[in-house]
């Protein structure tokens, strides 16, 4: 993966804006930001981000490649779409945030252990197994990501919610044993593989 990163660095030299435009979803919008700061002010998580969206766009234009791609800021986006609704320049900010996160992930330089990223990976792997999300396994996998001790603690803390869901038949304990999947799992995998192939081609990640 990291040779992908080296390649990208080689290819774009210090033109990070161009790199973003060509590789990041909706990246061609970055140049249109007028630095008003409305997005950062609108983001419910803005104050907690190391670099709120406005700043990220400026950093991209200033060529701060490593700081941006290694940042955990865009991983904090909850897709609330507040910023998109308000941006006077109509930038699809949310999509750019996810695009940047995704690009950093694929280059292998996204922050290690970043919780959103870890959960996203867990979710993806879980879904890929049977073609649908197994909630029991996903929850347990998530609770026990930091080992047995921490897992029990976390599970105990959430037990009332869990029991309530069981009662309401929102959680099926039987799913722990294997769980059910899609009818045409093979077809599903083929479909995802094709989509990935198309996207890789589009973003220049051909192996």
């Amino acid at each position: 993966m990291s040779d992908l990163n080296t390649q990208a660095v080689e290819r774009y030299r210090n033109n990070f804006l161009k790199e973003v435009e060509e590789n990041v979803e909706e990246g061609h919008w970055v140049k249109m930001c007028m630095q008003c700061g409305v997005c950062s002010g609108s983001c419910p998580f803005g104050p907690h981000w190391e670099h709120p969206p406005q700043e990220i766009f400026m950093m991209i234009r200033a060529g701060k490649r490593d700081e941006v791609l290694a940042s955990d800021s865009m991983w904090m986006c909850t897709s609330c779409y507040n910023c998109i609704v308000r941006c006077p320049r109509k930038l699809p900010i949310t999509h750019i945030m996810h695009g940047l996160a995704n690009y950093a992930h694929r280059l292998g330089i996204a922050p290690k252990g970043q919780p959103t990223r870890e959960f996203a990976k867990l979710f993806w792997d879980n879904m890929m197994k049977k073609g649908r999300v197994n909630e029991m396994k996903l929850t347990i996998g998530h609770y026990f990501r930091n080992g047995i001790g921490a897992g029990i603690k976390e599970a105990m803390a959430m037990k009332d919610v869990g029991l309530g869901m069981l009662k309401a038949k929102r959680l099926n304990p039987m799913e722990l044993a294997g769980g059910h999947g899609l009818k045409d799992l093979k077809g599903f995998h083929a479909m995802v593989a094709k989509a990935k192939e198309i996207e890789d081609r589009k973003k220049g990640f051909v192996k």
Partner: protein, 741 residues
């Protein structure tokens, strides 16, 4: 005019009949107002009511009409009797609408109305119907000073409207700065790319226009006269002198650029690779002539990165450079960045700005710049260091808060601002100006007593009422257009010149009819002075905000009617009170002051005189009435043309005749003035600051005279001020001078 016959009309409509005792008002008009004819009407502004007045004028030979109805600002069309002198008693907005409809209030309300009827009757008798002087000059040609885009626009617009133009240009060709641009900022759709300037077209049109006479290499050696009869002595470089007579003048003398040598810290004057925006236009024109891209000036090298430094020597708070924003330079930098991007998108163009200001349709152009890949970086440039190949631009990145950000640029463009070309500052005495390092050169060379050029407000831009009358300078008939008035871009200059030209046309047309120009457009009255009383103190000639008064050979004031705006500031200034208008004089106001019935010292009914500027304070009071906002019934309001027209005799007269207090309400003054007559309220304030001595002489408290700055929007504040003042008077007690009058 035949013998004076006065008539008073009492309206009973709009609730006046119910709230007031009309019979009592009629009695007052007859007995105290001594009106020859008094009539009541249920609905005076109706066709029948108006016809009644008209009939009296025609059949009864009424010459002076006092209308006791609504405010003089209402029903002006209905009560339009141009052949008689007229006064209005404001019983509606000023009395019944501003007083509570209660039994306790009835007496005070009626007293108010009675007084206003007395005042209107007294006033109208002192008024004469203004005749207007139609002999002030009939010339309708326009003189345009300056042949840049503003001046050329003025000339073309005037000619299109059917007026002849004399265009005087200092340099050897028309076009000004506009002719030196490679392209201009687009001013109509699609607003995406720089466009042709169109200057050559304008020059050609002027050349082919028989209505426009052009003098090149020419300046004004002397300008004399007034609207309708200006005479300009035009000195041509060759040594010849031409005389031209014109009716009005448009001054479009433009701007100079701020010298980049003043900005060594930004590399100004230190390297050919640091240029100002004008310098870049020159490079672009030269490159286009060669058919090549712009090259690095120092060594002809290829340009890969260009940095644009915004606000270079502008918006400066250190006092060393221009303190203002020139308004055009952000868009210009975007345009110039496109000069590079449009030829080769691989060239990096970085605009370093603190606030990108793109007025007008500039937002679209800015967006186009972004689409073309111009980089906009919010930062403050701290230094430009020229090196062997290009320069290092150091800046404080304001978004990333990086104090040591830097880029390497082959070419640096400094966005310096416009410095107005407005001639000499008439507020600086000539002797002092003579000692100055750079001697300012006069543009107009007016032979006015108050100086050779248009007065300036701030930073050398010509003074004009920024909110209400932007083109109108402090010299009637002379209109400033373009960047000499305020910094602006080409599109704004075109608009500005068009506006100024139309104003100049109005001025010549008004002068022809003997009418005032703005803000008292159409007014036929003008000031005259009684020569035998004049002590030649020169106060009027000094204080007239519009330079209307010169001096004759015997050193008496010489009024130029068509330069006069009819503000009355001269009348307020005159210590011996010899200046007056036919329908507005020391006497018309003084007689109203004295007409008020003064209750004795035991009545516990104070009387407060309020002299209110008719442009702002009086309308605010009317609107307070419309909104039924109540104020003290002890106040008697007299509208004045401008606070500047208030003669201190009115104040002393009022105090002597037993008023307990005098309030003056005028417009805001100072640099951010809103006074319609520019200096009127300022002068009034100055005069009132000296009134304390008079008060002391009369052994009165200084609170008995109070001056306020109010705006037309102070609808709630004005009644509040009155009530507070009434409370204050209550506190200090009634005037000890009551009963001695």
């Amino acid at each position: 005019m035949s013998e004076m016959k006065t008539a008073a009309y009492i309206c009973k409509g709009c609730g006046l009949g119910e709230r007031l005792d009309a019979a009592q008002l009629s009695k007052v008009a007859q007995k105290e107002g001594k009106a020859n004819l008094v009539r009541e009407h249920d609905f005076l502004c109706s066709a029948a009511g108006v016809q009644m007045i008209r009939d009296d004028i025609e059949k009864e030979a009424v010459t002076h009409v006092a209308i006791a109805a609504c405010s003089r600002r209402a029903k002006a069309e209905a009560f339009w009797f141009p052949t008689v002198a007229m006064a209005r008693a404001n019983l509606r907005e000023g009395v019944i609408w501003s007083q509570p409809d209660t039994d306790e209030a009835r007496e005070g309300t009626q007293e108010m109305a009675d007084d206003y009827v007395r005042m209107a009757c007294a006033e109208v008798k002192r008024m004469k119907l203004p005749a207007g002087n139609t002999e002030t000059g009939h010339n309708k040609r326009l003189l345009v000073v300056g042949g840049g885009v503003s001046g050329m626009t003025a000339a073309i617009e005037a000619s299109n409207t059917g007026y002849q133009v004399v265009l005087v240009e200092k340099s050897g060709s028309l076009g000004g700065w506009g002719a030196r641009l490679w392209k201009r900022i687009p001013f109509q759709e699609p607003l995406k790319d720089p466009v042709e300037t169109g200057v050559t077209d304008m020059i050609d049109r002027i050349g082919a226009d028989p209505n426009i006479k052009v003098y090149l290499n020419a300046t004004l050696a002397k300008t004399t006269g007034a609207p309708g009869r200006f005479a300009a002595e035009i000195a041509v470089e060759s040594g010849s002198v031409a005389m031209e007579e014109v009716g009005a003048i448009v001054q479009a003398s433009g701007f100079g650029t701020y010298d980049i040598a003043e900005l060594p810290e930004l590399g100004g004057g230190k390297s050919p690779d640091v240029v100002d925006q004008a310098g870049l236009e020159k490079l672009a024109v030269e490159a286009a002539a060669r058919g090549q891209p712009i090259r690095r000036p120092s060594d002809g090298g290829e340009i890969r990165t260009v940095a644009f430094v915004q606000c270079a020597g502008q918006r400066d708070d250190t006092g060393r450079h221009l303190p203002y924003c020139s308004g055009f330079c952000c868009s210009t930098s975007i345009k110039q960045a496109m000069y590079f991007k449009d030829v080769n998108p691989a060239v990096d163009t970085v605009v370093i700005y603190t606030d990108l200001r793109v007025p007008g349709s500039g937002e679209d152009f800015y967006r186009s710049g972004q689409e073309k890949g111009v980089t906009f970086t919010k930062g403050k440039v701290t230094g430009v260091e020229p090196g062997s190949k290009g320069c290092t631009v150091k800046f404080h990145d304001l978004i990333l808060n990086d104090k040591d950000a830097a880029i390497q640029a082959d070419l640096v463009v400094l966005a310096t601002g416009q410095v107005p070309n407005s001639g000499v500052n008439v507020d600086i005495p000539e002797e002092e100006a003579a000692k100055m390092e750079v001697k300012p050169v006069s543009i107009l060379n007016l032979d006015y007593r108050q100086g050779r050029d248009l007065p300036q407000l701030r930073h050398g831009f010509t003074d004009s009422h920024f909110i209400c009358f932007p083109y109108e300078t402090r010299r009637t008939g002379i209109y400033a257009a373009g960047p000499v008035r305020r910094p602006m871009d080409m599109a704004q200059a075109v608009e500005d010149a068009t506006g100024a030209t139309l104003k100049a046309i109005q001025a010549v047309e008004n002068a022809e009819l003997g009418r005032a120009a703005h803000p008292r457009s159409g007014d036929l009255s003008f000031p005259s002075f009684r020569r035998d009383g004049c002590t030649q103190c020169k106060r009027c000639t000094v204080e007239c905000p519009f330079g209307a008064i010169d001096e004759d050979e015997q050193r008496y004031p010489l009024f130029n009617e068509s330069r006069c705006r009819r503000c009355g500031t001269c009348m307020g200034a005159c210590p011996v009170r010899v200046i007056s208008f036919e329908n507005y004089s020391v006497d018309t106001v003084g007689s109203q002051i004295k007409a008020v019935d003064m209750p004795d010292e035991f009545s516990e009914k104070p009387r407060i005189l309020l002299l209110a500027c008719e442009n702002d304070a009086y309308p605010a009071l009317d609107m307070a009435g419309m909104n039924r906002i109540q104020y003290s019934a002890f106040v008697r309001v007299i509208p004045v043309r401008c606070l500047g027209s208030v003669n201190t005799i009115w104040i002393t007269d009022a105090l002597n005749s037993g008023y307990d207090g005098v309030m003056l309400m005028g417009c805001k003054h100072g640099d951010e003035y809103q006074c319609h007559f520019v200096k009127g309220s300022e002068l009034a304030n100055y005069r009132m600051s000296k009134i304390d001595d008079t008060l002391k002489q009369l052994a009165l408290e200084t609170e008995r005279v109070a001056t306020y700055e109010v705006a037309i929007t102070d609808i709630e504040r004005v009644p509040q001020l009155i009530n507070n003042y009434a409370a204050k008077i209550n506190e200090i007690g009634l005037s000890p001078l009551k009963g001695f009058a």
